[in-house]
């Protein structure tokens, strides 16, 4: 043990002092640590209010007093009491009684703001929690622990990004690029020979010189392939394998893009303190506290949809360059090539067509997209343009595998024409899409704003906890904790009398410090976390019991003051060994566990640290303060 830790834990005493006394600064320091602990644990005594948040979604929007009043009045008409409201211009909070009022209230406020088309699309109405922590505590940076989903209620998703599909889509893209390169260079290939397997493209040429020319052309233009001359279908051919680094790049792009899009979508859903986080190579965790309808969340989060704007093909167009769709019962032939896709959309709002009051989506394109749209439409005035809605729908099926039925995920592609219209004049950055239903228009606007997913995703885990179960968990957890604490406190007084009383003060300091550390670290309190706190209470007194048992034993060999000193010193070695091994386990639990196991591990680990401090240092200080330096005849232990 280093000298520093000895000093901190009060092990080596200056011999000049009376036995078992500390200098005053030491008592003060310990009192200070506990005092700071109390300050930072205190906010947990102020449970936050349920609140409805109105957030300005566009840069120039302001949550004015008029809007706040309109929302408040709507809520009160709906029978919901508003306990208070506040606004900082961009964000406003309306406090309500409970989770049920909050959910219903959100709908009411949303409807009230949507009545007026001018405000409807400028604000996001979200569920949130409003702090009730007193100002002075907040000014010190003290805040309560946030509740995990099992306490607050909400939805947890684990989404798996379909990496194989991301790579396959990209290969198709690459192939199109290769083909146009070969066309530009005037190199002829055997169209029927082209085959894509995994990350490899195989293609055949009519003769060896064609192949060599192709190889040179591809090598000079693309560095992403390993190119091997091989015979394909009996012709001289090429195997082009995408480099591993490039595959990783595609996968990284897919997950990053999906994360971004999910964040935007969650933002639009109106959730307070959502969590959207990458987990491992191909998974994303989404936690939505307060959300009760997981079906609604799934519809928005997991939607893989995009728009394509294409020209309706002229009659003389090559068949291979066209694609036929059915629109309002008749076939429409479109060009395969699209003018722009939804990726070029920077703004999308659902509003209403002023002429017939039908829902529509107003779209703004970025510079590049607007330019392309303008170029294509100016030469085609009088022709028709179509908007194609593309969606990849996640599906699952049961398949036999090794004699067992297992679930397999796949996706199906749906393409649907949502509008075909004659181009009256050259289009620019802004235009609108009509011919969609209200809900569809709303979702479409949201999805276009949030950005498309780069690859489809499958839900591989979902947990929804109802608000009532969450509240019940908090109540039961707190009850079990308080009763457990009281039982232990009572036992300690019965078993160890005055020393037991001192140990109890240390135990309460322990709980305060544990809660303070968790609050400061921003740990999330979960049900297993509460179990961890309760167990810490049960285990924490172990250190004191060890010390007291040792003191009793030493009292048979030496004087009281010497027994106290020796008891603490001897027991410390044991306490240190025993707690360090438990700490190892906590670290392993945290590293390897997931969900409930992690929450338990965090409390366990912090609990061990605070226990060693309080059981050894705080108890020692209390004993020194009350017993040290005096000539004692008897010890109440």
């Amino acid at each position: 043990m280093s000298r520093l830790t000895d000093t901190l834990l009060g092990l080596s005493e200056a011999t000049a002092r009376a036995p078992n006394t500390y200098p005053a600064w030491r008592y003060l320091l310990i009192a200070l640590v506990i005092g700071v602990g109390i300050v930072y644990a205190a906010p947990n005594l102020f449970p936050p209010d349920y609140a409805i948040q109105i957030r300005a979604d566009t840069s120039d929007a302001q949550v004015t007093l008029a809007i706040l009043t309109r929302a408040t009045q709507a809520l009160e008409r709906g029978g919901i009491t508003v306990r208070g409201s506040e606004s900082d211009g961009r964000n406003a909070l309306l406090r309500v009684k409970d989770a049920a009022d909050q959910l219903r209230g959100r709908e009411i406020v949303q409807a009230a703001l949507h009545e007026d088309p001018a405000t409807g699309s400028q604000f996001v109405v979200a569920l949130n929690l409003a702090s009730t922590t007193p100002e002075w505590l907040q000014s010190l940076g003290a805040k309560p622990m946030s509740y995990g989903l099992d306490l607050s209620g909400g939805v947890h998703f684990l989404l798996e990004v379909d990496m194989a599909k991301a790579v396959a889509d990209r290969m198709q893209n690459e192939l199109d690029n290769l083909k146009s390169l070969l066309r530009e260079e005037g190199i002829r290939y055997v169209p029927a020979s082209i085959k894509v397997t995994g990350t490899r493209i195989e293609m055949a040429f009519f003769d060896a010189s064609g192949r060599d020319a192709a190889q040179t052309a591809i090598e000079s233009k693309y560095g992403d392939y390993r190119i091997e001359p091989r015979d394909v279908d009996g012709h001289p051919g090429l195997w082009l394998t995408l480099l591993e680094a490039k595959v990783v790049e595609i996968q990284t792009y897919a997950i990053t893009q999906n994360l971004q899009s999910l964040r935007n979508r969650v933002n639009e859903l109106g959730v307070s303190e959502p969590l959207v986080q990458r987990l491992g190579d191909s998974r994303i965790v989404v936690d939505l506290p307060g959300i009760q309808d997981s079906a609604d969340a799934k519809r928005i989060l997991n939607k893989f949809a995009n728009l394509e704007f294409r020209l309706v093909a002229k009659p003389n167009e090559r068949v291979s360059a066209t694609e036929t769709f059915v629109y309002e019962g008749r076939p429409i032939v479109l060009e395969r090539r699209n003018i722009v896709t939804g990726d070029r959309v920077t703004g999308a709002q659902q509003d209403y067509d002023p002429e017939n009051n039908m829902p529509q989506v107003s779209i703004t394109l970025d510079g590049d997209g607007g330019g392309r749209m303008h170029d294509s439409t100016k030469d085609n005035v009088g022709n028709q343009m179509a908007i194609l809605f593309k969606e990849l729908k996640p599906r699952s099926r049961l398949v036999e595998q090794d004699g067992k039925q297992v679930v397999e995920n796949y996706s199906i592609e749906e393409k649907r024409l949502i509008s075909v219209a004659t181009i009256r004049s050259a289009l620019g950055f802004r235009f609108r899409i009509t011919g969609v239903g209200l809900e569809e228009a709303r979702d479409l606007a949201l999805l276009l704003r949030a950005g498309a997913l780069a690859a489809p995703m499958y839900i591989v885990e979902e947990r929804t906890i109802g608000a009532s179960l969450g509240e019940e968990n908090i109540k039961e957890g707190t009850e079990a904790g308080v009763i457990g604490l009281l039982l232990v406190v009572a036992f300690m007084v019965v078993a160890y009398k005055v020393f037991g009383l001192l140990a109890n003060i240390a135990l309460i300091a322990n709980v305060v410090l544990l809660i303070a550390v968790m609050s400061v670290l921003g740990a999330t309190l979960t049900m297993p976390g509460i179990a961890g706190i309760v167990l810490t209470v049960g285990m924490a007194v172990d250190s004191n019991i060890l010390i007291f048992a040792r003191i009793k034993e030493e009292m048979q060999k030496r004087g009281i003051q010497a027994a106290i000193t020796t008891g603490f010193d001897r027991a410390f070695i044991t306490i240190f060994d025993a707690n360090l091994t438990t700490f190892f386990i906590a670290v392993i639990l945290f590293a390897m566990g997931s969900g409930p196991v992690k929450g338990f591990a965090v409390t366990l680990a912090i609990g061990i640290a605070t226990t060693v401090f309080t059981a050894v240092t705080v108890t020692r200080a209390l004993i020194n303060l009350t017993h040290g330096g005096r000539n004692l005849k008897k010890l109440y232990i």
Partner: protein, 308 residues
């Protein structure tokens, strides 16, 4: 509290009987694990679970019939907690989205029984379940090994063997209890087993520490006597600590609600096993392995410097 001198129980005198009991219990646990297996929870099997509350007492049969009628087959419906609460487990259904099954079941219930409320709904994909099982097993092994290495480093190899066998014993008995009583073994259950590994080592270390100390100071005693004295000396603490832990576990089991209930029950089994194994497995193995004073004669600088 009585003074420590009062304890003079001949723990090691009955060590052969204790070993027989331990072997019998381990065999029973392993037998149950092999023949009956664990009642794996949704976390590990994958599937869909929906827990609902009815406005008044609900009959699982009726609910099951209603679900059958809507085409949800092979579901298991049972009361959970109170008679108003029902737990429904659904295997994957042909022709239905696995990820949307929970929503579909709840919608079907809502239309058949107006006023029904969702408490929780869980869906775990099959691949995730398998992974959780793998990392869970791995976590168990890694924690056992890391404890062993630490004890080897702080004490000696013989102590490490005694400690690890005791820990494995506790883990096996707890898993055995899960299997024997068919408690649902989910992530919370796994956390309980891992927590037992953490807490049980506490007891073992305390006794080991005392044994090490006494081996140095009691020069004339036989190893068996030394170990016996050490167990007696720590008995006061062993009883008190197990009692306080039992107090909080009792509070958790009785008041903590459904999720924590299983966790607390498992820990109670584990704590009992842990106290017993610290004495009769860990300390006993030291006797069997022929622990002598000489084993501790290698000077441990770290310890000597911190002892007063």
């Amino acid at each position: 509290m009585r003074s420590l001198r009062d304890y003079n129980i001949d723990f090691m005198g009955v060590r052969r009987t204790a070993i027989a009991i331990s072997i019998a219990l381990v065999l029973l646990s392993v037998g149950s694990l092999v023949f009956q297996g664990l009642n794996w929870g949704l976390d590990f099997t994958g599937g869909t679970l929906v827990e609902v509350t009815f406005p008044s007492a609900a009959s699982p049969q009726e609910v099951r019939a209603a679900l059958d009628g809507k085409g949800f087959v092979h579901g298991v419906v049972q009361n959970f907690g109170t008679e108003r609460d029902l737990l429904i487990r659904m295997p994957p259904q042909e022709g239905r989205e696995a990820a949307l099954l929970g929503n579909a079941v709840f919608e079907a219930l809502q239309s058949a029984f107006p006023g029904v409320e969702l408490r929780r709904s869980e869906f775990v994909g099959p691949a995730v379940g398998e992974e959780l099982r793998e990392t869970g097993g791995l976590a168990m092994i890694v924690s056992l090994l890391s404890v062993m290495i630490y004890v080897m480093f702080r004490f000696t190899t013989k102590f490490a063997i005694g400690g690890i066998v005791a820990l494995a014993h506790d883990a096996v008995l707890t898993l055995g209890a899960f299997s024997l009583f068919q408690w649902t073994f989910d992530l919370t259950g796994l956390a309980a087993v891992l927590a037992i590994i953490g807490f049980s080592i506490n007891d073992t270390i305390v006794i080991f520490d005392r044994i090490r100390e006494n081996f140095r100071s009691m020069r004339r005693a036989t190893p068996e006597e030394t170990i016996n004295v050490s167990i007696n000396q720590t008995l006061d603490r062993t009883i008190s600590t197990s009692f306080t832990v039992m107090l909080v576990l009792g509070a958790l089991a009785a008041l903590g609600g459904d999720v924590v209930h299983g966790f607390a029950l498992a820990l109670i089994v584990g704590v009992v096993a842990g106290v017993y194994s610290s004495v009769y497995i860990a300390a006993n193995l030291l006797v069997i392995l022929g622990m002598t004073r000489e084993d501790l004669l290698t000077p441990e600088k770290e310890k000597e410097s911190s002892a007063p």
